[in-house]
């Protein structure tokens, strides 16, 4: 048993901290993904440090991992500093291409990802396929010398600045739902690709996402990732990774500490808010729950040394999503009516950030794998319980 970082790990963490101290400016902070020139420039610097391709072969532009936990340490520090996070491109795109793509595809895309030369839109969700990704309908026909894609996607976060779309398409309309799905890579400027903004609920300048339309988009044959009709397997692998790698619990820790700091300093009518016993008690309960989040994350890290965490990642995800809402909710309660001030009000505590968090955090409880879905994963994969939607299950059917 060993809970401390090793000397090497601590050294890497300090290096990242020093880098962020030096390079992270106010305009780069906030949000999640790389979406402004300043944020792109910041990630270019991460790339220059070799921190995007850690653990991938050098021939693809990767770099040696300085230490086993480098990826995790980097993510935590980025989250704690509120810097753009880099998990999506490396975690989903590069990993999937590396493990499943053709040699040609690896040569073309991996170096670009690791040099931060391209932005990606993950294009999965459809009007009728949300949590149930296997129901997706976006049609992809083999036209001999190209693929022809037709369909509509929703909630595509980065579509308005992406260079490529990473699209889940249906390549076999007759196969069982999840057996006819493939992944293709599409140029963002392909003819027939259009999008329109979908604004998230939130203040002006809130997160943007997009509805995307593929209208007879031609895609070269070599842009199909891995094997045809195996896309669903790739998606599921990536989701496991996503639950664990893209979003570190550190984001919630940062946010909780920020709120607690505000409470500590806040005074109303000459009374210190932190003297209120009800506030003290509620924040102590939540502080404890936040700490449990860091524990579940540490557990994932330890598992990750041996395999991709799956049910552990689901625990992490379910807890983190729940806690995120609890933080925003308690923050607003503590602020009283000031809690609902927003969007540039000079009286809004923490510049109204907690209002945005309250409004948008519900999304984390349903998105990717929401809380209920994560719990279903735990029930099915870890506890060995049968599919609630499946056939009636009796004890003697157990394996």
């Amino acid at each position: 048993m060993e809970f401390d970082l090793s000397l090497e790990e601590a050294g890497f963490r300090d290096e990242v901290k020093a880098f962020l101290e030096a390079e992270l400016t106010e305009e780069v902070r906030g949000g999640m993904f790389v979406d402004t020139p300043a944020r792109v420039a910041f990630v270019d610097k991460l790339a220059a440090k070799g921190w995007l391709g850690m653990g991938f072969p050098e021939k693809y532009g990767g770099s040696k991992k300085p230490i086993a936990l480098a990826q995790f340490i980097l993510n935590v520090e980025l989250e704690l500093a509120h810097a753009p996070i880099v998990g999506k491109n490396v975690g989903v795109i590069a990993n999937t291409i590396f493990h499943n793509g053709s040699e040609e595809m690896k040569d073309e895309f991996l170096p670009k990802v690791f040099k931060n030369e391209c932005q990606w839109a993950l294009s999965y969700t459809e009007p009728q396929a949300g949590t149930d990704l296997a129901a997706l309908q976006c049609k992809c026909e083999d036209k001999g010398d190209h693929w022809l894609v037709n369909g509509t996607k929703r909630f595509i976060t980065s579509a308005h600045f992406a260079d490529y779309h990473w699209v889940a398409v249906r390549t076999d309309p007759d196969a069982q739902k999840h057996k006819g799905v493939s992944i293709i890579i599409m140029d963002a400027d392909a003819e027939g690709l259009t999008y329109t903004p979908q604004w998230c609920v939130g203040s002006t300048g809130a997160e943007r996402t997009n509805e995307v339309f593929y209208d007879n988009v031609k895609v070269p044959k070599n842009r199909l990732v891995g094997e045809i009709n195996k896309g669903f397997i790739y998606l599921m692998q990536a989701l496991d990774y996503e639950r664990f790698a893209i979003i570190s619990f550190a984001a919630r820790v940062r946010r909780f500490n920020k709120v607690a700091e505000w409470v500590k300093e806040a005074e109303f009518g000459g009374k210190k808010l932190s003297d209120d016993p009800a506030i003290r008690s509620k924040f102590a309960t939540l502080a404890t729950r936040v700490e449990i989040g860091t524990m579940l994350e540490k557990m994932c890290i330890c598992v990750a040394a041996e395999r991709v965490p799956n049910t552990e990642a689901a625990m992490n995800k379910a807890w983190a999503s729940t806690i995120g809402t609890e933080i925003a909710n308690l923050a607003l309660d503590a602020m009283g009516p000031y809690g609902y001030l927003w969007d540039g009000s000079e009286h809004a505590p923490l510049e109204g950030e907690m209002v945005d968090q309250y409004l948008m955090h519900g999304h984390s409880r349903v998105a990717a794998a929401g809380v209920d879905t994560s719990k279903t994963i735990i029930a099915r994969r870890l506890l060995g319980l049968p599919d609630p939607l499946g056939k009636p299950f009796l004890p003697n059917q157990a394996k």
């Binding site: 929703r154 009518g269 009800a278 309660d333 609902y340 927003w342 409004l359 948008m360 929401g370 609630p388």
Partner: protein
């Protein structure tokens, strides 16, 4: 015992439902949310309210009102809550009207109530101070007698519709100090009286709230409403009625959010079946149903008893505390059922999501009212 609406109440409800569903659509509300919109409500709609008799609904017949009760206002307010109707109904037809009925001189009554009934005077209620807490003890805004006048200095926060209102009902302190219930005096004045400035406060609900600053605002003694230094004796009753109507509004918003979510759960297909067939979704929806029935019942129960002239402070407090909790809980849960859709601005229910939490934090939040419940149960804190 009988909870059924009378014929008149049914008609009131149905008319309100029909009118508001037609006029106060989601798009209508969204338009009033826009930043450059200064008034935050529709004068045309306000005129219709007057025409339908809603503004004088609970004003006694002797003052040309309809002479109905708080329970009828609650029935109406639930409908307004369903349409999250942005209007100064609460501050004008409940708070100001009641304060004038209870505290006004004969002259004030005859002059001011008629204006309200006719829709000619919109009121904003200047009560909440620059603090997290609520209630008479927090009032600091200073009004000093000066010959035939009072001079008012200080500020109020979270005043809804103050810029668009014609008049302000202002709660000041003419004696005593912060922390005391006594020493309060109410005034009525024009909202554009010299020395008053309104600064918009952007809110989660995107309604129109203002910080109102008073800088040597000078009003004649005739602007006083009710007893000097003893305003809380009147205001206490007014605030209780306001809390019940606000609760009705919350119950209505919760109710309609739940209907949207239920409808969606019957349409949205995932894994080859409607999501409403999933047991967890059913449990969420059923839990919310119970809360809504409870919320509606306690609103009506409390309002009805107040109409019988009984002291219902304990029930008012429970009504406000429960509906406040409810509206937040149900707007959150409902949004969850919409999945990703629930958090995209274009989805109608994001209006409810933005309001659920704000309502919960408004008018004393839950803490002020739960303190009252505790005091009723245990007496005041002795230590």
């Amino acid at each position: 015992m009988d909870m059924k609406y009378t014929e008149e109440q049914k008609q009131l409800q149905d008319l309100a439902r029909r009118y508001l569903e037609k006029e106060c659509t989601i798009d209508f509300v969204r338009n009033l949310e826009k930043k450059d919109e200064e008034i935050g409500f529709s004068k045309e709609m306000w005129a219709s309210f007057a025409e339908m008799g809603w503004l004088g609904l609970a004003i006694p017949e002797e003052h040309d009102g309809m002479g109905w009760g708080l329970v009828d206002q609650a029935i109406l307010a639930m409908q307004m809550g369903r349409s999250i109707c942005p209007s100064p109904y609460l501050s004008t037809a409940v708070i100001a009207a009641e304060a004038i009925v209870l505290g006004g001189t004969d002259d004030q009554k005859s002059e001011l109530l008629e204006e309200i009934i006719g829709g000619e005077a919109v009121y904003a209620f200047c009560f909440q101070e620059n603090t997290r807490e609520f209630g008479p003890k927090t009032v600091a805004l200073e009004a000093k007698a000066d010959g035939d006048n009072y001079v008012i200095n200080g500020s109020k926060m979270f005043v809804e519709f103050s810029k668009g209102a014609d008049k302000l009902l202002v709660v000041t302190r003419t004696a005593g100090k912060v922390g005391e219930e006594s020493g309060l005096t109410m005034f009525i004045m024009d909202s554009d009286t010299k020395g008053i400035t309104h600064t918009h406060l952007p809110t989660m609900a995107r309604d129109r709230q203002y910080e109102v600053k008073f800088e040597n605002v000078t009003v004649p003694k005739s602007a006083v409403l009710g007893p000097v230094g003893d305003g809380w004796t009147i205001l206490n009753k007014v605030v209780q009625k306001a809390a019940v109507i606000f609760s009705a509004y919350c119950a209505g918003t919760a109710e309609v959010m739940h209907e949207y979510a239920l409808e969606f759960s019957k349409e949205r297909v995932q894994f080859g079946r409607i999501i409403g067939q999933m047991q967890v979704i059913q449990q969420y929806l059923a839990t919310c149903t119970i809360e809504i029935y409870g919320a509606r019942t306690i609103v009506l129960y409390t309002a009805w008893h107040m109409d019988q002239g009984r002291d219902m402070l304990d029930y008012v407090a429970k009504t406000k505390a429960f509906t406040s909790h409810c509206v937040e809980h149900i707007c959150d849960r409902g949004s969850q059922i919409f999945g990703g859709m629930g958090y995209i601005e274009e989805t109608p229910t994001t209006l409810h999501l933005r309001r659920g939490k704000q309502y919960q934090l408004s008018m004393g939040g839950m803490a002020y009212w739960e303190d009252i419940v505790a005091e009723k149960m245990f007496g005041p804190v002795t230590a």
